[in-house]
Amino acid sequence: MIVELLLQQLVNLLSLGSLYALIAIGYTLVYGVLRLINFAHGDVMMVGAYIATFALTRLPWPAAFGVAVCGTALLGVAIERAAYRPLRTAPRLSLLITAIGASLFLENIGIVVFGGRPLAFPAIGLFDRVLHIGGISLPLLSVWIPAGTAVVLAVTFWIIYRTRTGMAMRAISRDRETAQLMGVNVNRVITLTFALGSALAAVGGIMWSIKFTSITPLMGVMPGIKAFVAAVLGGIGSVPGAALGGLVLGGLEVLFVAFLPELSGYRDALAFFILIGILLIRPRGIMGEDLPE
């Protein structure tokens, strides 16, 4: 019995943790190239979820997801053009403020366009099924989410380390001016980074919506913060770090609720506690690079 319960919690841990990981990867990617804490990431995720919800009423799910991912990538590019590019040479603080502005803008536009009441994400049979193996219930989604995260991680790795664009991203992340002097088209690469980061946010938003059903204009706020914590925990800027940070954060949350049920209402507080802890003990995170002076 105890073993079954532990295994069940392990299933819970993997599905929540890899969901955080998925969102954190996109978050950290943008930071890695631009050194920008993109607070609008969670809200971009929300837009992805809405596009998918509407697309699903007209298209079969693979097409609908494709539309959502592409649409959200375009949105990311638009945000970069409108909010971040004009401030490319401004101090870091201005970028942070404009990111918060972009986040509030998306949330409020969401409220105006979609209204305050939640929509239900359409059920998709393939993802909705639950397998009962012995005493363990295995929602198929708990397999799909980690699998999806693994694929996303692999693709991201491939882009960063095996393509010319990835090489340019790494160069810009190291030293933007020099990269530019060496003939790297900085604007183009940053645009591509945003497109990729936002596409990842859309994948995260879709997975999140399949799991939690309810779509609201403010749905991205908490996942955005959790992804930020996961990214810092794993080492902000590091893609494998973000994946690891997501898994660790999801794992700690599940264990916290499972073993301290009387404190289970404070799981969000736990995330902030972890954030403060990591900043005090090891600010560069588990797998982060050494911070420059």
């Binding site: 599905s15 305050g116 009441r117």
Partner: protein, 369 residues
């Protein structure tokens, strides 16, 4: 000539000294955020009531709606704003008890009457001079759910899932527990979460070893739907129960098949509409939306009608006089039943139990206090 004009104008002024052409009423509701459905449903009810009775003492009651984003602090700010900027004579709101209390601190200090349509926690009006409500309170609602579980469902064990961020949920869980254990039942697990949580699997997994007969979630519809869904996903077969916070179309939309057989107590059903004005309201609502009216809308309408009645009785728009009349209200025929204020400003009324059946809310029974 001038004398005549002066005489005439003084006559016009003295004819109706205190009655203005319009009076503003603040409406503070959660139009966005976690319980946006509640704000929306209540606002619909208030608007229908206003269409049914647009003028009081010849003056237009102008409604000033402010959204509190389902947030306590925003609710207090909104109340502050309607009192100071709009000079309202009364405030209608909120649905959630925590937010009603945030508003009542403003109402009390500014001496403006507040009518909460549907906040059921006893603390909302307790010890307050200017705060009233159109609904019953949670000690009664807790009894209704517990007795329903014991008698109708023959439940012996229960698990409680409480939203620690909501006074409503914390209170209702406690009252449920008291009655359920007095009646011979046993609460085997008390689990907690916070508004906005979406993942309940770790909590619910704890129940897998010893599944309770009933799982009681005392929070609001969004979480109730997700809990049902995740409980069924984990293979838990317990009957799931809730309070009036579960009643929103979102429960059905978000919960899907998982909320089939979900029972909850609430304030009103068109089948339980006994008053003339209640039947008129049902008609107006059906004509407009072509569906059955919900309890929160009915209570929103009642809050409006209570205010109108108090103004008419007081023959004045002065907040203090309106307050006095609200306090004296006895046997007032409202949409959701007959409202008499008890000494703690609570309406003493019957409760309704509903059930989800084939994706719809179905009337089960009426329970009298």
């Amino acid at each position: 000539m001038i004398n005549l004009l002066l005489a005439l104008s003084s006559f016009l002024v003295t004819a109706d000294p205190a009655l203005p052409e319009k009076a503003k009423v603040g409406v503070v509701l959660s139009m966005t955020g976690d319980t946006a459905a509640f704000g929306d449903m209540t606002w619909t009810g208030i608007q229908i009531a206003k269409e049914m009775k647009p003028k009081v003492l010849g003056a237009d009651l102008e409604l000033v709606l402010v959204d509190n984003k389902s947030d306590k602090i925003e609710a207090a700010n909104a109340a502050q704003r309607v009192v100071q900027r709009d000079k309202v004579i009364a405030i209608l709101g909120e649905v959630a008890s925590s937010r009603s209390m945030a508003i009542s601190s403003v109402a009390e200090s500014k001496k403006i009457p507040q009518i909460s349509p549907s906040s059921t926690n006893p603390l909302v009006t307790q010890g307050k001079r200017y705060v009233f409500r159109a609904c019953f309170i949670d000690p009664f609602q807790g009894q209704v759910i517990a007795n329903f579980a014991l008698q109708n469902l023959k439940a012996k064990t229960a698990a409680l899932l409480t939203d620690i961020a909501q006074d409503y949920s914390v209170g209702l869980s406690n009252y449920f527990k008291t009655t359920f254990e007095k009646g011979g039942g046993k609460v085997i697990k008390e689990l907690r979460y916070q508004t906005n949580d979406q993942d309940f699997s770790p909590q619910l997994t704890v129940l897998k070893g010893t599944p309770p007969d009933v799982l009681v979630i005392t929070g609001y519809y969004q979480e109730a739907a997700l809990v049902s869904k995740q409980a069924r996903g984990l293979g838990l077969k317990s009957t799931i129960l809730g309070g009036d916070g579960a009643e929103a179309p979102e429960l059905l939309k978000l919960g899907g098949e998982a909320v089939e057989g979900f029972y909850f107590s609430t304030h009103f059903d068109e089948k339980s509409a006994t008053t003339a004005i209640g039947r008129k309201y049902v008609e107006a609502y059906r004509a407009k939306f072509n569906k059955a009216p919900d309890a929160l809308g009915a209570l929103g309408a009642d809050a409006y009608f209570m205010l109108a009645e108090a103004i008419e009785k007081a023959k004045s728009f002065e907040p203090e006089k309106i307050r006095d009349e609200l306090e004296k209200m006895k046997g007032f025929e409202a949409v959701s039943g007959i409202i008499s204020m008890d000494e703690k400003h609570n309406a003493v009324k019957s409760a309704v139990v509903k059930k989800v059946e084939k994706g719809e809310f179905v009337y089960v029974t009426t329970v009298n206090p």
